[in-house]
């Protein structure tokens, strides 16, 4: 009898404890992409300072991990917003729907440029997307112009393109789990891959083969997986003037005394060239909001208003100060009005 009483009391305490910690949440929880993280956190901090609401929590889980947490369900233990450096996939929308997350608001916030940079002690490399593809793909088209593939034979940049210096190909970049790597592969590698007509033709005939050719990085040494930390890549470039590194534009912006961006297809990676779209390797940044949480968790509407205000994401807003490339004005107006009406995501 005594034993059962003790057990019952313990269970009650545990339950009450769980209730006490999870009963309510009065702050916004944000998860998702590590690329959007630096921008999301700035807005969160300003929002916490200038309003009576608590500062939102921002976690950096990666785009895919964030969407998974986001789509897990509706309720205070699930995040309200997820950041993403790519658009949500239809499979993810389906996963959301299956777990009861039906109302999703999509917010396109701006762009981020991906740069290929080297140490300022050496000359900048004039690259084209085709050079990048030939230097970094696992298999490249046979140089004798027949429509066949060979394992990447190139050792130096001169082998790739006679205009380039005779330095060994050595590129430091993020690991396969990173969104930056995905975007780089999609924009730079595939962009160069399409320069070959017969591969381009494959896209409609055999899209799987096309993807394998254009999206596979070489693994025989010239591409070095340098981890998720962009600062580390900058430091390594500083130590090795012959290497190139792949990272986000904001790191180039902050370390202009150590590294310089290589022009790609004749375009220098600058704020202006990324904003007007002439720099080819840039990607959109998004975040997604769970509609069911909007009036449950305090401050979501106000947070959205802050994020889409001109002083945050405008041409001279504080997000651009942190290295985000803003949308064009008409685009901004459209997104802002959609956000205000909490318009549902349409794929």
């Amino acid at each position: 009898m005594k034993k059962t009483l003790i057990t019952a009391a313990l269970a009650a305490v545990a339950l009450a404890g769980a209730q006490w910690v999870s009963a309510s949440r009065d702050y916004i929880t944000i998860v998702g992409s590590s690329t959007v993280f630096p921008f999301s956190t700035v807005v969160a901090e300003r929002f916490g300072r200038s309003t009576a609401f608590k500062t939102p929590n921002v976690e950096s889980t990666g785009s895919g991990g964030g969407l998974k947490l986001f789509c897990n369900g509706v309720g205070v233990q699930h995040p309200d917003i997820t950041n993403s450096s790519r658009r949500i996939k239809s499979t993810e929308v389906k996963m959301c729907h299956d777990n009861g997350v039906t109302g999703i608001v999509e917010v396109l916030i701006g762009y981020d440029g991906i740069v290929l940079a080297n140490s300022v002690r050496s000359k900048p490399m004039q690259l084209t997307r085709k050079d990048i593809f030939l230097a970094l793909a696992k298999e490249v088209p046979n140089p004798d112009d027949s429509a066949s593939l060979i394992a990447n034979p190139y050792k130096t940049w001169k082998d790739v393109n006679p205009r380039l210096p005779a330095v060994e190909i050595e590129v430091l970049g993020p690991p396969p789990t990173s969104g930056t790597r995905d975007a780089f592969v999609e924009l730079a590698l595939e962009g160069g891959c399409k320069a070959f007509d017969w591969i381009k033709a494959l896209k409609s005939e055999d899209s799987r083969r096309y993807k394998t050719i254009c999206h596979t990085m070489r693994e025989d040494g010239p591409y070095i997986d340098a981890g998720e930390n962009d600062n580390l890549i900058v430091q390594k470039l500083n130590a090795n003037p012959f290497a190139l590194g792949i990272f986000g534009f904001s790191f180039l912006d902050q370390n202009s005394d150590k590294v310089q961006g290589s022009p790609i297809d004749g375009e220098d990676p600058t704020f202006e060239s990324i904003a007007d779209g002439s720099y080819p390797v840039s990607r959109p940044l998004y975040f997604y909001v769970k509609k069911a949480h909007v009036d449950v968790i305090p401050g979501i509407k106000e947070f959205l208003a802050e994020f889409t205000s001109e002083r945050a994401w405008g041409d001279e807003g504080y997000l651009t100060e942190k290295g985000m490339i803003p949308l064009a004005r008409p685009e901004r107006t459209e997104v802002a009005s959609n956000v205000k009406m909490l318009k549902n995501l349409s794929m």
């Binding site: 999870s22 901090e45 929590n57 976690e59 233990q77 930390n229 600062n231 986000g248 902050q254 005394d257």
Partner: protein, 429 residues
Amino acid sequence: MNKSAEKTIDLVNRNLAKRYRAEKRFRFYGLLSISFGLLCLLFLFTDIIGKGHSAFLQTYVALDIHFDEEVLGIDNIDDPAQLMVANYDGVIRKALRDQFSEVSSRRDKRALYALISNGAGFDLQREFSLNPRELLGQTRTFWLVADDDVDTYLKSYRGSGEAFTGRLSEQQRGWVQTWVAEERIEKRFNRIFFTSGDSREPELAGIRGAIMGSLFTLAVTLVLSFPIGVAAAIYLEEYAPKNKWTDLIEVNINNLAAVPSIIFGLLGLAIFINFFEMPRSIPLVGGIVLTLMTLPTVIISSRAAIKSVPPSIREAALGIGASKMQMILHHVLPLAMPGMLTGAIIGMAQALGETAPLLMIGMVAFIVDIPGAVNDPATVLPVQIFLWSDSPERAFVERTSAAIMVLLAFLIIMNTLAVWLRKRLERRW
């Protein structure tokens, strides 16, 4: 017989030099290993201290602030709401414009405003709300926090001949030089670093939030792991029969001590967050997960401490009629306590440096508000170091090293405490 004895001593003498040499070499190898270790440590410390010491100073700029009612937008001084939302940035900007009256274009003005941290307005608000009546309409000189770009520029400027100009334009550098010439700019002890939470502006970022988070997490860990660990150790040492089951438990405990810590994080995610529906990022969940991780260490060291109490003490207690419980509580436990505490402190030190399990339960996050309880969202010191090391802003490099210094200081304190307790309380038989 005699002959063979001579032979032996000859053999010994012949080999003596060789044996001495071997002995010397052996000692030298040991010395070499120790100096290698010390060299690595020295390198680590010089690197961290060299990079981090400058973070303890922060650049401030003196501005003559005129508390203009119109600029502030205050018409009723007794209304706290008005004091709250008044335009403090406006008066700072006006002070900047007054000092550099030649600045007129919108672009140049923006460049000028960028020299002062955008957190300065909040400092001014605090100062002003202390005695608004006295300050309104007056002009006072205030030292305001400079932007991180200015801070980095000045620190590198003083250090070497060639300064890191970074994001400052030539025009902005000119303004900073004017301040330097007028002695309106100086480096002061960086109090913000110890009193505020995380921020995306390096000049406003501090480690107080992470320290509080670490303390709450460790408190939960200690409160849970010490009693549970000691109770388990007592049962296993004093009561448990020696059979296959206890052997199995022992093997499992030893195994758990070597399990990668991320596994405990996954367990925490599955049980506490997904099943019990506790919120993410709170020290309570972090503490429970770290308890799971440190329990094996606490149990193993507690068992060793109990084992080292000589059986004669137990027999004497039982011999004069003590019950087994009295024997344990009155005699064994007090004598084993120093060893147990040492084990617990070492377990805590291990938990203090852990990030991997916290990643899974959402404590790797940007949290500005300083936590005040175990169910407030929080982060911990090593996570803060990780987050700063990954930030693009240049001024975070020195703050990362400074945060490492703070973490190392905590670890050294805890380990010294463990050594001191052992020296002070341990009895030898």
